[in-house]
Amino acid sequence: MRFAFTDDQKMLRDTVRDVLQRECGPEVVRSVWEGRPEAAAAVWATLAETGVIGMTASKDAGGLAMSELDSILPFEEIGYAALPGPLVDTIAVGIPLLDAAGTNSQKDQWLESVATGNGKIIVAFEDQAVVPYADSADVLIAERGGAPHCVPMSEVSVVPEPSVDRARQLARIDFEESKAHRMRDDVDGHALLSLAKERATLATAAQLVGLSRRMLDMAVQYAKDREQFGKPIGAQQAVKHRLANALIQQEFARPMVYRAGWSMATSQTTNEIDVSLAKIYAGEAATFVAKQALQVHGAIGYTIECDLHMWMKRAWALAATRGDAAFHRERVGRQVL
């Protein structure tokens, strides 16, 4: 029993953190928010250079063949920075699916270009009414009739459906199915899609942890800086206890997410329930921290001039997506009771 990341995993986290700190300040997120998704393009390119975009690709495909556990900390950092774009879909879900189920021609067309940062994948499961980042993606991997399909975005119709998080370009999508879209039929497409759903959920949970940490950092900083009644508001016991509660909820969510990463990476029999626990705790922590951070900020937090709102809205969206609390609690409940 050893519950800690390896030095390699931490080094990768530090790499991602450095890139995002340098290249993805709040002003970048804000630019995307205001309708300029190209503002994040350079970040994507730098991440690709460091190997993060292709990290889950097999070595044959020029990737690092990294596991779900290896990608947990990078996704946490991506959440911390609120970097917009189909990162989960591309890294955690799309590349492994393409690698495992793509035909040779699909792989030739997409795998290397995506893994090296020259293309973006979005993934649509059949239970999704809308998908994010369709505007900026190059290829869609879609579940249809229980089987995976690989469709160039040029063949996909996209109807925007604005999200409250304007950096998440949501859309309804549709496509005319053709033979060329079908992925390999000599693999168990259903099983791969199931696995893909768990991976999407896990990576989303990791992002939620990062969002939570950032909102808490913002609130703590604000509580130290803002003075009322002649002292920092962070000296008020009510503010202290509010932020202490936020920290507790966040810190008890983290090991749940890390553990789910390990369960996925080592194919534990409990991995579905572990992923559900991760999503429940991470989602509840992030929305709870959001609420505390907003209350600590007061009126300033209630404006779109303050950066907080971009993280808060991402947290609301991600907590409800890839199975909301009701869905995952029910899944846990069926196992436990």
Partner: protein, 386 residues
Amino acid sequence: MDLDFTADEEAFRKECRAWLEANVPTEALRSGDTREGFRQHIAWENVLFDAGWAAVSWPKRYGGREASLVEWLIFEEEYYRARAPSRVTQNGIFLLAPTLFEFGTDEQKERILRPMARGDVTWAQAWSEPNAGSDLAALTSTARRVEGGWRLTGQKTWSTRATFCDMAYGLFRTDPAQTRHRGLSYFMFPLRTEGVTVRGVDRLDGDEGFAEIFLEDVFVPAADIIGEVDQGWKVAMATTSSERGLTLRSPGRFMATASRLVDLYHRHRDRSDPVLRDQVIQAWMDAQAYRWFTFQTVTRMMQGESIGADSSMNKVFWSEMDVRTHETALALIGELLELDEGAESAVDQGQWMKGFQFALAGPIYAGTNEIQRNIIAERVLGLPRK
């Protein structure tokens, strides 16, 4: 105790309901916190005033109906039930007017009240300053006495709809030798005049609901002070108490939200788990609790009691109930909750997410709930201040 409405009260309700059914615009107006929507709402306020419904509890001479507090609550229930437009005049009618009735001169009342209630002159509050939010007494804006009046200088913030309004009211330091609560006066001042700059600030939901007001040597005639010079704190406290209490948030609003929630539940029954069902029940019950608490309070007021710090309990209860109710609605909606107004697939045109964001301001404005709980502990329970 008689919790039935009297025949007169029932008749009043019937009249409200009939008028609202006949007159509430069938198509929803744009948000009153946008420029275009504000104009639409003012047109509605004109209609409301001309039919005598703009300020039902006011004396007839100012355009009211001299309705009792109970009748006012009935009016509110009917108003929200009819899904009538939100009141962009509320910072005048519900916050400034009570102060004028208590401290204003006859001249001020004659001059100000009717145009305020009709929406001909619109009012914004200007309480906070960048470094005086919860700690209102830390304000630094000043008023310098000049021939015939005063010159105001300073900066106000979180001024709701000030970008669209004509006038504002707030506190300024008239005695520079005094600090904190002393030496302040309560001014009404124009927003569209020389020396005033208003900068809109977009709210969480993207609407331009707030503004900053910059004042540089803005002339205000002596007649536009409410109450006595240097006594502004006392005058203002009367207003903040009505802001917290009944007038700002009457039960009708939350009863209407609760019944819309029940309706949403029925439409989303397929995905709603039993825990959400219980939360829907809780939301409905809480709206009831708020209603009965309010009728009890109103009876006390009608018997001549003053409510004082008790109104802080109202504020905490309704603001946190409103957040919980909207959270329940969003949980019922599930994954699609993030869809914004204008998204085709949005449930109920995205109004629940919009309402949720609006509700999140409840525990912050009109005195944060932290401040309210301090007030309850110190003034109602008598716990020591330090």
